[in-house]
Symmetry: C2
Subunit: 200 residues, 2 copies
């Protein structure tokens, strides 16, 4: 728990997280709050519930609804959205890089780029080549970052963060945590912000 | 599909439907729209997905979150809410009565009373005795209504309505349908209303 901070927990493969990634910075400025970006992996959490795939693939009616809902929401917000030809994409390497960069100046920009690759460009985000393109576009030492992201220490950080997500009661992405309260889904972001402002 | 009308699909056991039941009439007046109340059964739809129980019971993290979320939302809206000691309650008989009353003047009042029994009084809504109390409190011929609700013709109406829900792509409650577009969840009610106003 980080006091006075809104924790933003996200998985790179998650459609609804794209909505929050694209608007949370503006909201943070507007409401004068701090955001802690917390990448984690949903896969291990889903596996414990018996799901080997996204529930949007396992339950077709839910899946069909989600794609239409995303289309409507992005349309309403003026956000470009292209249904990815592969879903869910493997967000492991992206999450490792994001956790390495979470306290660096490039962390947020990297995260946004990956989401745009996935949901605007329909590009594979699990490939080193694609992540290399993203890191280079941010004028970063791509090779060094990719190597560091795959160090045991960094891999363990992501494992620990995913374990923490589970302990907090997180079961989907995006989730927002304020004073140990979980708010699930992009449509709860305003509630999470109001909660933070009320109690701090 | 009913043109120019917002269809409100709900299951009596559903917590989030309580939120919509308690506010949809005021919204209809405010926005000058018509609501068609559509009771249906989620059980058969869940069964087809392999669920023999509410997903909030099958997936404990999701369930814990839902109860807390309901508490917060009801608190925010000034709605009384008591976590029912039995969940989900069997909404079959209530749904049969509601479908009988859907075009009668008492249909909406009955539905609201049942939701209050379930989520305010923590009372069993599956018992004939309790439904008798509700119908009598509305000055209705309770015995006659209960008998009619259990006629084969009326049972078939509910079956047909549940089948229609499935065909429409409904997989949860509450759902709102406008011009064949599905909006799922109490937090999409405003979107559904705006969609209706835009296209009619």
């Amino acid at each position: 728990m980080s006091k006075g901070i809104l924790e933003f927990w996200y998985e790179f493969a998650s459609t609804y997280s794209y909505l929050s990634v694209m608007r949370i910075e503006a909201l943070a400025v507007e409401h004068k709050i701090k955001i802690a970006w917390k990448p984690f992996l949903l896969g291990p959490i889903f596996k414990e519930q018996g799901w080997e795939d996204s529930p949007f693939n396992i339950y077709p009616a839910k899946g069909r609804y989600m794609w239409r809902d995303m289309e409507r929401l992005c349309n309403k917000r003026g956000l470009v959205f292209k249904k990815p030809t592969v879903f869910p994409r493997n967000g492991l390497l992206s999450a490792r890089i994001a956790i390495l960069g979470r306290n660096e100046s490039w962390g947020t920009a990297f995260t946004k780029k990956v989401f745009e690759f996935n949901f605007v460009e329909d590009a594979e985000i699990g490939d080193i080549e694609k992540l290399d393109v993203i890191l280079q576009s941010l004028n970063l030492d791509s090779k060094e970052i990719i190597t560091q992201s795959q160090s045991k220490a960094n891999k363990d950080k992501l494992k620990k963060q995913t374990e923490e997500a589970k302990q907090l009661g997180i079961f989907g992405s995006p989730s927002f945590i304020v004073n140990d309260e979980v708010f699930w889904g992009d449509d709860r972001l305003e509630d999470a912000i109001n909660y933070l402002k009320e109690f701090n």
